[in-house]
Amino acid sequence: MSETDERADVTVDAVGSSCPGPLMDLIGKMKSVESGTVVELLSSNEGTEKDLTEWTEQSGHELVDIVDHGDHQSYYVRKR
């Protein structure tokens, strides 16, 4: 297990969802977690990286890491 995996407090599985589903699923979860929580988003959608980068830049939540699993990616976001 990498360091990032250990830091994920909650996982949102949006593999197979089309845009903007994964980002919306992540945002939905962010509403209910405490500040400092790291949420892992699983997505296989190509647009997620761009959407998520833009969203985290605008919102001030931190995109901690992206891990490529081949057929899908894990995005780790820390709520500010």
Partner: protein
């Protein structure tokens, strides 16, 4: 043995399916070989698109409803009751009022989507919506009194019924205040959760400049976390705050607990094959319309076209033939872009939509369609 098809929900999808089946299977139903039961938790059929016009005083709540008995073919066994359980092993549904379990050979879930404003703290108290009859009527009264200030139209939940209704509401409000000579005293802001004005890219590209022209402020990446009704402020997940005088929100939506409890979809939407509409979690179960987790919009037209394809499939299956009809994702949405002009988009699983230039003709077509909708529900159109 009589084959039983049970349909839960007599909204756009359920009623079009039932009436199409009545026609396609008339001979078999008359002979007693097939029964089609349609269960709905109220006596009326509701045409929800009417609610968009209620706040502007252009339609009444009564315009949105007709008694189901007037719309459903006599060959269909219409049952007014609420289904409160689905057992896909026993192949039964339980009727809450009658307290009985009904068996099925083929089950179609068409319960639509539910709005859940209470999911966002403060929203139910601090905001209005036009996504239900009481909400639309309360908003009509509020708008009638609203002569100046900041109107915020905020999309809180995605996905929601009718992808374009929030844009339509903002554009109609702009035109409505202009017509009444109040527009200079009213600021309008439209907010959307992702980084553009709409989920469908071509619609966002079309809407952006139009909103600019109409002096409607657009805020993107705006996700309401809570609403403070006392200070009339929306607080977002992005850490922003927006003050409003009148908040019109598109509330979060939810599928159905029945779906979750029956193991047909964790989030309340039925996980289905998008072409055959067959549930992935059980045999002989199908889902139609908003309750189905389909890669298209939660729109009445999508429910209508899907119902046509499913009627063909079910009729073939009930007759012991191999079904060949499939739903290709066809969806058509009219978009009101003021009080006297409109455009539309048409798309399917393969084709992306391109909005046409708005015109009065399309506006009249939308109003005409709204009137002729009752023929669609009867299965005539």
């Amino acid at each position: 043995m009589t084959e039983r098809i049970v349909i839960v929900g007599a909204g756009t999808g359920g009623i079009v399916l039932a009436n199409n089946l009545a026609e396609e299977l008339a001979t078999e139903i008359d002979a007693g070989d097939i029964e089609v039961q349609l269960v709905n938790d109220g006596e009326d059929h509701v045409y929800k698109p009417t609610w968009l016009y209620v706040p502007f005083g252009e339609k009444t709540l009564a315009d949105a409803t007709r008694p189901l008995v007037d719309l459903v073919d006599d060959r269909i066994d219409l049952t007014i009751d609420r289904v409160d359980g689905v057992d896909t092993d026993d192949k039964t549904v339980s009727l809450a009022g009658a307290g009985v379990d009904e068996s099925y050979d083929h089950l179609v879930l068409a319960m639509g989507a539910q709005v859940t404003p209470e999911e966002t703290p403060g929203l139910a108290e601090g905001g209005h919506h036009f996504y239900g009859p009481e909400g639309a009527a309360a908003l009509r009264d509020e708008l009638a009194e609203f002569t100046e200030g900041h109107l915020v139209v905020s999309v809180v939940g995605v996905p929601h019924m009718c992808p374009v209704a929030p844009l339509e509401f903002a554009l109609m409000a702009d035109a409505w205040f202009r017509d009444r000579g109040l527009r200079e005293d009213v600021d309008i802001t439209y907010t959307y959760p992702i980084g553009r004005a709409h989920g469908i890219e071509s619609v966002a590209e079309w809407a952006g400049p139009l909103m600019d022209d109409r002096d409607v402020e657009v805020e993107t990446f705006f996700n309401a976390e809570r609403v403070d009704p006392d200070t009339k402020t929306i607080h977002t997940v992005e850490g922003r705050e927006l003050d409003y005088d009148l908040l019109v929100a598109i509330p979060p939506h939810d599928g159905s607990d029945l779906v979750r409890e029956a193991g047909l979809g964790d989030d309340g939407w039925v996980d289905v094959d998008p072409n055959t509409l067959e549930a992935r979690g059980a045999d002989d179960v199908y889902a139609l319309g908003d309750v189905a987790d389909l890669p298209t919009s939660k729109a009445g037209s999508a429910a209508h076209y899907a119902a046509g394809a499913l009627a063909d499939r079910l009729a073939s299956i009930a007759r012991g033939e191999r079904p060949t009809a499939e739903y290709d994702g066809k969806t058509v949405c009219f978009i009101e872009s003021g009080t006297d002009e409109a455009t539309y988009i048409a798309f399917d699983y393969e084709e992306s939509p391109t909005p046409k230039p708005p015109s009065k003709l399309i506006h009249w077509s939308k109003l005409g369609y709204n009137r002729s909708y009752w023929l669609t529900a009867r299965g005539v159109l």
